[in-house]
Every structure is written in structure tokens, then in C-alpha cells.
Symmetry: C2
Subunit: 410 residues, 2 copies
Amino acid sequence: MPSEPGDLRHSYLDRLECGRCSAGYDAAVWQGLCTCGSPLLARYDLDLAAKQVATDEIAGRPPTLWRYHEILPVLSADSVVSLGEGMTPLIPLPRFGAQLGISNLQIKDEGLLPTGSFKARGAAVGVSKARELGVRRIAMPTNGNAGAAWATYAARAGLESLIVMPVDAPAITRAECAVSGARLYLVDGLIGDAGAIVADAVARLGYADVSTLKEPYRIEGKKTMGLELFEQIGWRVPDVILYPTGGGVGLIGIWKALRECQALGWIGPKLPRLVAVQATGCAPIVRAFEEHADTSEPWPDARTIAFGITVPKALGDFLVLRAVGETGGCAIAVTDESILGAQQRLARTEGMFICPEGAACFAAAERLRQTGWLGQDDEVVVVNTGAGIKYPTTVDVQVPVLSKGATIPA
Amino acid sequence: MPSEPGDLRHSYLDRLECGRCSAGYDAAVWQGLCTCGSPLLARYDLDLAAKQVATDEIAGRPPTLWRYHEILPVLSADSVVSLGEGMTPLIPLPRFGAQLGISNLQIKDEGLLPTGSFKARGAAVGVSKARELGVRRIAMPTNGNAGAAWATYAARAGLESLIVMPVDAPAITRAECAVSGARLYLVDGLIGDAGAIVADAVARLGYADVSTLKEPYRIEGKKTMGLELFEQIGWRVPDVILYPTGGGVGLIGIWKALRECQALGWIGPKLPRLVAVQATGCAPIVRAFEEHADTSEPWPDARTIAFGITVPKALGDFLVLRAVGETGGCAIAVTDESILGAQQRLARTEGMFICPEGAACFAAAERLRQTGWLGQDDEVVVVNTGAGIKYPTTVDVQVPVLSKGATIPA
């Protein structure tokens, strides 16, 4: 039966639009950056979507990020490449919150996603859309987890992948790429050096470049963090969201989710204050925020235990700064020492072993509470971007070895 | 307002019953083994529960294992210790299934649980119930993942924990115990040696013994794997379920879920054939199954890459054998070589990096299909008990290291 004008659509994707100069692009073909060099953002027919889907209906759908398919870019359900990703838990932290002086502290635990990190969201949506548009080979630089996720979803989709990561990236992410059959290289440098190698390979070897924000769809996956959070607390927003910021796609995604949900009438006008958390060893966004700049400058000699946010210069820095500024948020840097301290204290107090990037947000929350920027009764949500089990070297393990038949002292 | 006789109860827990001699025990106090030395099983007032909860109602509840609270042992919602566990995805494996000649192959991916393994289910329910009954300190031997999960949930609950594991247990599980503040020891031996050390500590130091099947509630958590699976395919059962079997609690739990769901009228009379999968280096259940024995004999010199199922003698062996026998299932052992092969092939074909214990089930499925025990059109579900990211040493990673500005060859 031919489709009728009133038929429900799987996706209300309309076009792509430059995040800086607002130039429009056709979403029916694979696109990279705008000619002005900036990232493209997916735009939807939200007026039509608002008429055809309500939050009540979403409530009855399976607990994956695909429950928001009307405002995701994949046009057909048949194109979806899924490993069951999404609807990660939002967990109250009453005892740790009490330690920090925050009475309503919660964690959105993105460690419970395929590949153990939030990167699975961008990869699921990005790979699905790439395959839908006929892409067969993808390439990307990564600080580890994104490469692991994209290699995994590429394998699931039957695509080839080329991944380049710094030698200091978490070791387990190498295994994830290797076991998925990715073409994997390490580089003795940082993510920018990996990016240069990938750019060269893309130009010569016919890979689609899926580097951070160089294609428009990863961010669409990331925005589902925001959608889920808003749904989980009853289609409203918390007072503050803290987010560990490297490339910043997740934060931009949450901000995009916020604006789209407002346009759809799914949430009210209130904005959560978005906080970009970085490490003192690599804090270009924080410096730009403090200097009231629109963009960041490359950070020299970047180094932090929170390796995932070791991004000296992010392509989307202006969008991160805009999101933080528009929402009345802030950007803050914390030391590696405070990151590891927060990681240990959270695990002892609440039983959650999280990644150092996530832990940075708790260190930041403590600082912001001390300065009074966070109030005691603020509803605060920390996004933990990955599972601690991917970071064995962050824990100091000193264990006695017993022989058979030994006795444990009182 | 005082409760009325017709009030809905959070749990229909009624009593404990010995799995071997059927002796009854009071569920209102903490209990260990039956005086006959066998495990106690939780029994519910299923007739009453059937009248007061329907599957339609469950469908609208949050996606955690606590959605089945009426047939879980925790009496009050306030007692629940949760990190968002449950409703792991059931994922079709069309391409890998085609390779194995199984047209309807699915995986229940338990890697997407807190602590990255199915052990979180038993720990969440076991710790919740222990705390509800006033327990303050728990102790257990473990092959790694159970200890990590119980240490984690103990920290969340504010309980002390003592964990003893073999030196060969996955290294990451040490970090998980340590970061949670557990008292952790390694033993130069196998899980039985750890168990002897724990038994001594329990007798002397006042810990509650939460060893496999030595308390009645871990299995209640594990049975939710079955409950979720039945719900996910529309409150019915598949033809075959393959399960990696060490202590066997998960398999016994699925069998218990099956019988309870039948009694509740939630599923029909059909039974899935339950398959206990072991490694050739430690296959006591398989040997007992082949010899038509009711219990197993201790396996000498146990050793396999699938460390989680290195259990030379399981306390619940007779229950595993009964579950396999009653359902028309079987027990089968596979080699370490075939386990690692299945792990790699699944990752390349479907993008899923699973633990060796889960991979053993795919190696078993391939063998059972070759012998004709599995038919081409059987609906087959493999339970993957944990995430591959906890097992970095199972992947051979050979990666070229490039210098900055290098070029990738065509």
C-alpha cells in the first residue's frame, strides 16, 4: 500500500545545517564538514514530529536509545545497527552526596553500555546512518573508547574500520578494536597526531572520515543521554548537569536534546546549568570560558590520568562554550589527584567503580559546592562516561597471597 | 492506615525449603544450608501472587530486575540495594547463526550489568536480602566476578566484605574488590581452597557465609535472567538455552524461573532444553550427565581459559543435573581452543566481545548443531555471562606503532 501524506515517519530528519554559518546541506547523502570548516548538525521537522509522537507513547517502547527514533537520523528501522544500547540507569547517590554537601546527587551510569562507555551511543547511531547512506569503510582517530565502540559497531554492520589511537590510550581498547577485526594503529603522540594520520588515509584510501564532529551523526547518538535523563526524571530537567569534556560532543548533544525537547513541547523552558569538566593538565575549554572567548586555543603538553578528555583542541569548542554560556553553566578544571580521590571515595561509599573522566565530575562538584556555585539543594546529575573496569591501572591493588589451608587473621 | 488482608504485597516470599530433602525453614531469619548439607531454596505463595500480579502490569515497570519483585525475596522496596541492574538485551545473531547453521540464534548479553557480569544479579538480590535480615558482614570465595559483584553491592549497602579468590582469577576483579573497600585475599589454589579459608574465617570471625548456594538468595537474583528472557520473547520459552556452568546457580535459577512462571500461569507448559556447557579441562557435570549419575565427582587438575567455570565440584551439582534431565537438555564440554575461536569469530561477525565462558556456549552450539542435537530451526538462546573487556588476555593484540606524521600503507 502506498504511503499516505498523514503516515507516521520513522524519522523526521529534514536537513543538515552548519553549526557556525547555518549553511544548509542535503541529509540524503553522506556529508562531512561545512565548507566553512565547521561541524554540520542534523535538523528535524519538529513541528510535524510534535504532532505525531507524544512522550506517553515513548514510555511503552523497548529500553534502548532507539525509542527516540523520530528525532534520530536513521530513516528506516531496518537500517538500525544495535547491540541493545541505551536507557542506562540514573542512580541516586545519597551517601556520597551527603559527603559532598549535595542533597540530591545522581549519576547517569554510561558504563552499562556495549563496550563499557558512552561512546557506544555515537557509534550505534553513526554506524547505522553511515551504512544507510552506503558507506562501506570508516576511519577515525580516538583516545581509545570511541575507536573501540566504532570498531565494534562497524563489525556488527559488516563495515571495515581503520582506527588510530595514542600509545597511552587504555590498553583494553586495543583488544576491543583487534578482536572486532579493525585495522588498528598506535601513534606515539596525542589524538591530534592520530587525526593527521587518519586525514591522510581518508584522502588516499577511500575511508569515510568519522572523526569527532567531522560527520553529523555521532552527536545524534550522544544526545540520547539527554533524552533519557529528561525522560527518567519525568520529562523535566535537573538544575545542573556535569559532563567530562574532551571533544565535547556529549555536552553539545545534551544541549541539542534540550533545545529539541523544548521545541517538541516535551519539557518546559527551564534550562539545566551545563558544566564542562576538564583536567588541569588539559583545560583549553576552561581557559576559554574564563577569558570569555568564543573558541579555545590548543593546550600545550596536554597530560591527565583522565585520558579520554586529553583533547588539546576540540573542533566543536565554540559549541561547547555556547552551550555552557547559554545555560548559565560553567567550565572547571580539576587535578589528577582529586580525580583519583573522587573515584576511590565513590567506590567505597556507593559501590560504583567509574572511569577517571566520570570521577573528574565528582571532584568538580565538590569544588563547586565549596565555592557555593552549587547549592545544597540543587538537583545535580553527573554523567559517568565509562566503566572503571576499563581502567585497571587507576586502582592501587596490594593483595596478600595465601597458601592453601591458610588462616585469615582476626 | 493499617494494611488490609487484600493488600498487595511487595514480595510473596513464604518460606525456605531444602532442595534435596524438602525440609522447611523460616525465611524471616538468616539461614545457611539445610541440616542435611544441601542448599535451601526460596518458596513463594504463587497462588496468591498469580491473583495479584499479571504480566501486563510488569510491562509498565522500570527496566531492572526488580520489576519481578513479587517473586523476589526482598520484603520491602526500601531494602533494595540497586545499581540499575537488569533487563539486559536479547540480541539476534543472524550472521553468526548462519555460520553455525542455526537460523534463530540469540544472545542474552549479561555483560551489560554493573561490574560487567551476570554476578551482579545474585549480588543485588543477595546483598539486599542479607541487609534486610540484619547481616553486617559477608564473606565468600570466588573465581573473581562474583567477589567483585558482592564487594561492590556490599559497599553500596554499607556492609563489610571479605573476599578470597585464586591467584589466576581475572586481574580486574582484584581492582573491583579493592576499590570497593573489601578485605581481599588471593590463594595459590582453586576456588575450593578459597572456600576452605572462607569457611574457617566464617566460623571464627562472624561473617555471614555467602558462598555459592550456601545462602538461599543469590539464586533468586540469577533466576531473573530467565524471567527477563521469557518476557523479552513474549512470555514463552525458546527451544534451547545454553549456559556456561561452573557452580551452576544461573542454570538452576533459570529452571526455577521456569517452574515458577508456569505455576503463575505466565508461560505455558513447554520446557526449553537446558544445556550445561563446561570446558574439557573441568567437566564434572558433563561426566556425571554421561554416566547418568545424580551428583558429580570432584574433577582433578581442573584448568581452563574459561576461568569462571573452573569449579571442580559444585554444591548444587544435583540440581543442575536435575534441571538438565527434566527439560530434555544435555551437558557438553568444549576445548579451550574452540572457546577462543568462537570468541574471535563472534566478535568479527557480530561485533560482540564476550567472555570466554559465554564463548564456550557458542562452541558448544556449533558442536551440537553438527551432531544434529540442535536443529536448524531451533530457537536457541546463549547466555553470555560477562563482558569481554574484563578478559584482556584472551585477545592477541599485535599493533604497529607509528611516529607522528607517519603514513598508513594502502
